[in-house]
Symmetry: C2
Subunit: 334 residues, 2 copies
């Protein structure tokens, strides 16, 4: 993968969870990285995330919705990793318009910037398993119907479809990776609304009891963040497979099993199950297992990080750097 040496890279949402882990890897590979992040309160952006490479990347505190600035930032880039966006079920239902702005309008605006000012760039978009809604069969492949249980899922469908259509109509090399529950270092730890796995880890580290709805046996297909970064790099370095969406995933585990592993690796902790609240029942997606055959066949990707190893690394990271993620009590979810 010497592909990235001296390549000019733009990462939207680059101070966030996946973006910052990606930025660090790209710097290691000799790439010239520009990070765009709006650092919107409650979202995933955190300047500390890129501490190891802070003098080796360019940081632009810009909202992706600001098309004038994006028109300039997309120029002369070889690859654009488009990771800006929200992934909150609850926020999208209580404030649909903001979700629409960030997940549809900003994406479309970015694609227009690329089409007008840098149509040779490759774009890798972060889709989500949330696009599928409740699984109608397992494992879920890329042709599974897309019937989300929230507005966020629908807006992500639209954003992905814009990308793939810009390939079909304009020839822009866009691809989407539909990410599943990802955990690991550099995820925000202020609230539970953007990813439940890291939130469980926080609760255990805080000595609080994890409460799982129902039996706790609902299956999620989880990825350690390094495996996701590897997929992003593989896809961007390849010169094929554009205009398509690919599932990530590969490690199916129940929520209860995941939490039990966290407790075991941490040395202590508590978990209990409670009945589903009524308002969660209609949106519960049941079990989710991804088929990752398509990305395996096309790009040779498969996840490598063992679940226990990933959890241990995550716990270790937050034990060291807790003060940069826990913040004050005010920002905590009660």
């Amino acid at each position: 993968m010497s592909f990235f040496r001296n390549k000019k890279i733009l990462i939207t949402g680059g101070l966030g969870f996946i973006g910052s882990n990606l930025a660090i890897r790209l710097v290691e590979k000799g790439a010239q990285v520009t990070i765009v992040d709006a650092l919107i309160s409650e979202y995933g952006g955190n300047k500390f995330n890129i501490n190891p490479v802070k003098n080796k990347v360019r940081i632009e505190i810009v909202d992706v919705r600001d098309s004038n600035k994006m028109d300039k930032l997309v120029r002369r880039k070889d690859v654009i990793f488009n990771l800006a966006g929200t992934l909150s079920h609850i926020d999208s239902m209580t404030d649909p318009m903001t979700d629409l702005e960030i997940n549809c309008k900003a994406q479309l605006s970015l694609l227009e910037s690329v089409r007008n000012y840098n149509s040779k760039a490759k774009i890798v978009f972060a889709g989500t398993r949330n696009q599928y809604g409740k699984a109608q069969y397992l494992p879920v492949d890329e042709n599974h119907p897309q019937e989300p249980t929230d507005i966020n899922g629908i807006n992500n469908i639209a954003a992905e479809k814009y990308h793939l259509m810009y390939f079909r109509v304009y020839g822009i090399k866009a691809v989407s990776l539909r990410m599943t529950n990802t955990y690991g270092p550099r995820h925000q730890m202020k609230h539970s609304r953007q990813g439940i796995l890291n939130w469980f880890i926080r609760l255990i580290l805080d000595g609080r009891t994890v409460q799982l709805f129902g039996t706790g046996k609902q299956i999620r297909d989880v990825n350690y963040v390094d495996d996701v970064v590897e997929a992003l790099l593989l896809v961007a370095a390849a010169d094929r497979g554009w205009g398509e969406a690919y599932n990530l995933g590969g490690t199916a585990v129940s929520l209860l099993d995941f939490v039990k592993r966290v407790i075991k690796i941490n040395g202590k902790g508590k978990v209990k199950t409670i009945p589903f609240p009524i308002e969660r029942k209609t949106i519960e997606i049941g079990d989710y297992i991804a088929s990752c055959e398509k990305i395996k066949k096309t790009y040779g990707w498969k996840p490598k990080v063992d679940l226990n190893v990933g959890i241990a690394k995550t716990i270790e990271y937050y034990r060291h750097f807790k003060e940069h993620y826990w913040y004050t009590e005010k920002t905590d979810e009660k």
Copy 2:
């Protein structure tokens, strides 16, 4: 169908092509009709469209994006026919943000109004065959992949998905009819960007030559507007089938065949074929034939109006009321 007697009905886009034909039928059936239309220049709205019932309906010149006004207008309605929106391929590609505003943001805003202020109402949404893009098999059923060749198609997918999700999550009785090329009286005749069939009729009535791309043998599945109105009424009067999308269609005909019929019924006219312009090639969808089995099984709908009868009625209408549709030369497409 005495269902509609004294029912309170809201029609968004009610001064437009399908909305106005629907409003007239509903008044005949004894319904209390409120029309919402923004009368945006270049769109389909035209006050003359509802001339036969102008003293029997309430007209609100309101943009569906104005959520404060819509919050009030949705109250105490039994049925909402949600027909506001654009259907222009070209406009959506040259001005993606306006298409997003009207086809995503306004739809989501309307659904929020309904959820907050009238969650018992039924909502019938106008989807489009444009959601499918190029047909991968024929006839196209509702499970066909949705890979549009333009932004308008994608935004309509999102708008439809919002509606169906509001049924799944909130229990709001929403349904989508995916309309195909519809022709008939009350379609705007100022330009060709919102429906090609009526535009052909205008060209023939003006004595101009119709130019078809390629062989002219591309198949479209066409509906006369009365059949579409019938489908809207059937679905709204029923008490089942919510949360689903249904294809309309049922009369497959080549563009050349359609134009030849127009010429024959008109008594004169010219048509010729010309090579595809390069920029049209990538977005050409090829043949389209809809499977209408689902709506037939669920609601018993099938189109009844013979193609020649529909064309004759359309020609007759515009011969009578030309001055209300042709406008000045300035608004004509050259």
